[in-house]
């Protein structure tokens, strides 16, 4: 081992942020803008905004397998491949080689990772919904797990703060179930979608809105200042956007942090341990390993933000053992690694739409419809807890319809060059209840190539999720039938596991009581106050809405608090 332990000025910062993804980027931005010198540590390779978006402008013919996944890639990206075509040549560069970064499944867990600058913010679905007031109260009211230590009102100003910075297109609707935020102009609905929205409200009293999505429909000055431009409606976001039109750490928070001249970024640098000082009872820094050279170094700071992604942030806590914390930093409660949540998906329905023959769409909308939760909301009561939202929409069928049709030859070929009928479909995102037996932990013996214990997953859906899935399919079928659409077909994928929603969370939950939670209401580790965990690990319940904007709001709030506490000399 090549040990190079320095404590000189080049290794000392005001703050260390572990991770450069959705929340790491936001932490770096908020901390540097408040005057702190920040070191950001990214375990993966460097991706430079725009210039490294190698596939962004390619034509379909420039991908050898034309969007399909080769057996070779499917083996390298075995976990990614459970999702669908993530490992293809188009988007594969922004996912992680699972063969080189293996993990252990005591029970199956679909762990999708993104080890590079920007992390999963490079290829997120960009759907951005606020959690509602009742989401924060549900655990306490229903006696599930523990209560959130914060309420909607605590996060409200921070939602506003990050929404404006990120730039979210959407429609304010005034619905309690889906609180409105600050939106750029909404993207239009297609003709059958407008019909569907009206019919659902009239016949089932169920609201339908256009997705709230982090793509710039009308850039504001603070967006263009960072070099971000309007969406070009190519819907090729996951390749990286050369226009910076969708929000990622690369297009947004990292450039903003760099503008302060207070940001240092290290790539290929794996945080292996948080260094705890028994005397001051504070973390004094982070030990890292270069993923290529294997060189070990230490970096020091007054505060440490963990934004490594929920599972890796928890793993880092668990691997940071000291006399004070023999089972991992901040793990007095034995809750670190437990309560894994996600959103379960792969359930919904499809249909064909008759009519609207003369309607068509120019451009590809990188967005869909959103049907907010209606289950166990208001007067609705079901035999399971919580609920789900749907995402989907209508599209006019293209040549791919021909694959399952009968026919070939000259007239078939000609027919395929014209649009076919409309189809419509959507799938659910369901809330998963926290359960302490759904967990990850570090293997006692097996280590990765950097000598860090491997992560073991031991989690599964519970009865509540399985009951909800049945209803998710049935309601999707019901809605498409009520709309009068044809060939309505439900689906409920049986081969999904926790993790596939790529919303894995909950492994270092916040709480009021250090006995049953890892973090306090400002995301501080209860017994080591200068360590903040502000990624999905902090979540106490999962709601059913896409979580990134909530993680970012939590991060901005915690960063503001951390700097105030530093100034008050409490850290």
């Amino acid at each position: 081992m090549n040990l190079n332990l320095k404590s000189d000025k080049t290794h000392t910062f005001d703050a260390i942020v572990v991770g450069s993804g959705m929340t790491g980027g936001m932490a770096a931005k908020e901390l540097t803008e408040r005057g702190l010198q920040v070191l950001m540590i990214e375990r993966g390779r460097e991706v430079k905004h725009i210039e490294d978006y190698d596939t962004a402008m390619k034509g379909p013919w420039e991908f050898e397998h034309r969007g399909r996944v080769s057996i070779h890639s499917a083996e390298e990206y075995w976990a990614n491949n459970r999702f669908g075509t993530l490992a293809n040549e188009e988007t594969g560069p922004f996912f992680t080689d699972d063969k080189k970064n293996p993990y252990i499944e005591k029970r199956p867990f679909d762990w999708i990772r993104a080890y590079h600058t920007g992390g999963k913010s490079m290829h997120w679905g960009r759907q951005s919904y606020r959690m509602n007031k009742k989401d924060f109260e549900a655990n306490a009211k229903e006696g599930i797990a523990i209560d959130w230590p914060i309420r909607y009102e605590d996060l409200e100003p921070w939602y506003t703060h990050v929404e404006k910075f990120v730039g979210i297109s959407g429609q304010a609707e005034g619905w309690e179930v889906l609180p409105d935020g600050h939106y750029l102009p909404a993207m239009p609905m297609s003709a059958p979608e407008r019909y569907f929205r009206e019919t659902m409200m009239k016949k089932l009293n169920r609201p339908v809105t256009i997705g709230r999505v982090a793509n710039l429909t009308k850039p504001q000055p603070w967006h263009t200042d960072l070099g971000r431009a309007s969406c070009q409606y190519r819907s090729k976001c996951a390749r990286g956007c050369p226009y910076g039109a969708y929000y990622s750490s690369l297009s947004g928070s990292i450039p903003a942090a760099r503008k302060t001249n207070k940001l240092t970024v290290l790539h290929d640098t794996i945080a292996s341990e948080i260094i705890y000082d028994e005397k001051t009872q504070r973390a004094k820094g982070v030990r890292v390993i270069n993923q290529n050279t294997m060189a070990v170094e230490e970096f020091f700071a007054k505060i440490v933000f963990l934004n490594a992604g929920s599972m890796n942030s928890a793993a880092l806590l668990l691997n940071s053992k000291s006399n004070r914390f023999p089972t991992g930093l901040g793990n007095d409660s034995d809750q670190v690694g437990r309560n894994i949540m996600d959103h379960h998906l792969g359930v919904g329905a499809n249909a064909t739409v008759e009519g609207f023959e003369n309607d068509y769409i120019f451009g590809q909308r990188p967005n869909a419809l959103y049907i907010p939760r209606f289950r166990n909301w208001g007067a609705d009561k079901k035999d399971f807890l919580r609920g789900y939202g749907y995402q989907g929409g209508a599209s006019k069928s293209d040549w791919k319809r021909g694959i399952t049709m009968n026919g070939f030859g000259a007239s078939f070929k000609e027919d395929m060059s014209h649009p076919g009928t409309w189809t419509m479909g959507f799938g659910g995102f369901g809330e998963i209840l926290p359960d302490p037996s759904n967990r990850m932990f570090l293997d006692k013996d097996k280590k990765d190539k950097w000598g860090i214990p491997m992560i073991v997953f031991d989690a599964a859906f519970g009865e509540n999720e399985l009951a909800m899935r049945k209803d998710m399919m049935a309601s999707a079928v019901e809605m498409l039938e009520v709309a009068g659409f044809k060939n309505v077909t439900g689906f409920n994928r049986q081969d999904t596991h926790p993790g596939l929603g790529i919303h894995d969370m909950g492994t270092a939950r916040m709480g009021k009581d250090p006995k049953n939670s890892a973090l306090n209401k400002f995301n501080q580790v209860h017994a080591c106050k200068n360590v903040f965990v502000t990624d999905g690990a902090a979540m106490v319940s999962s709601s059913c809405v896409n979580p990134s904007i909530t993680y970012m709001a939590m991060t901005a709030r915690a960063a503001d608090y951390a700097v105030k506490e530093l100034k008050r000399q409490n850290l």
Partner: protein
């Protein structure tokens, strides 16, 4: 403006440029060697390759616009079968080809070929039903893998039709001659169809 120029243009506009390592990594990604772990050595005889080409051309013939053979679909089909499919599909594809060989497909005239392929397509509807029943009967992931290795693959007709269409409609000539190709729409609009409206491709 090709894609390379386009990106470089945008990158330069914002003060960046392609780094040599990036270009190298990209090339490596594109040039990666095929898997060493091919389940079987899937290969076709010259005669079988000719049948693949003629069937593909029957599905997408040359008309006022290029046909499947013009845009390299036959080689694409073989490459895709090698790279993206496993034993069950290799077997079912070979079975379908051998049947056509026995029926002297290559010696037939256009009408005879057409009639035979209509029959092959009709038969594949039944084969698809059997295939789907077998798929739903498969259990958990571990079982699924094992059973999938022994199970029958997608029928020959379904494979060759899907790969012909994919190869053709994603080829540069295929896209540009069949559709209105709009790589950068720049706007999103709900519009009305024009007479003889072609599909937009992006």
């Amino acid at each position: 403006m090709n894609r390379r120029t386009a990106i470089t243009h945008v990158a330069t506009m914002l003060g960046g440029a392609f780094s040599a390592p990036t270009l190298l990594a990209m090339k490596r990604w594109e040039d990666r060697l095929p898997s060493e772990s091919f389940p079987t050595g899937f290969s076709l005889t010259e005669n079988q390759k000719l049948i693949v080409a003629e069937v593909a051309e029957a599905i997408i013939p040359k008309t006022a616009t290029p046909g499947a053979k013009d845009v390299g679909v036959p080689a694409f089909i073989v490459m895709m079968l090698q790279d993206c499919y496993k034993t069950p599909e290799h077997k079912s594809f070979a079975e379908g080809l051998i049947k056509l060989e026995k029926q002297q497909f290559l010696s037939m005239n256009a009408d005879q070929r057409n009639a035979l392929l209509v029959q092959v397509e009709a038969d594949s509807v039944e084969e698809m039903k059997a295939y789907q029943v077998q798929q739903t009967k498969m259990g958990d992931n571990e079982d699924r893998e094992q059973m999938a290795a022994q199970a029958k693959g997608l029928p020959f007709w379904r494979l060759i039709k899907e790969l012909t269409m994919l190869g053709y409609f994603t080829s540069e000539q295929g896209i540009k001659s069949s559709f209105e190709y709009v790589p950068i729409p720049g706007k999103l609009e709900m519009i009305k169809m024009k007479p003889n409206q072609k599909s937009f491709a992006y």
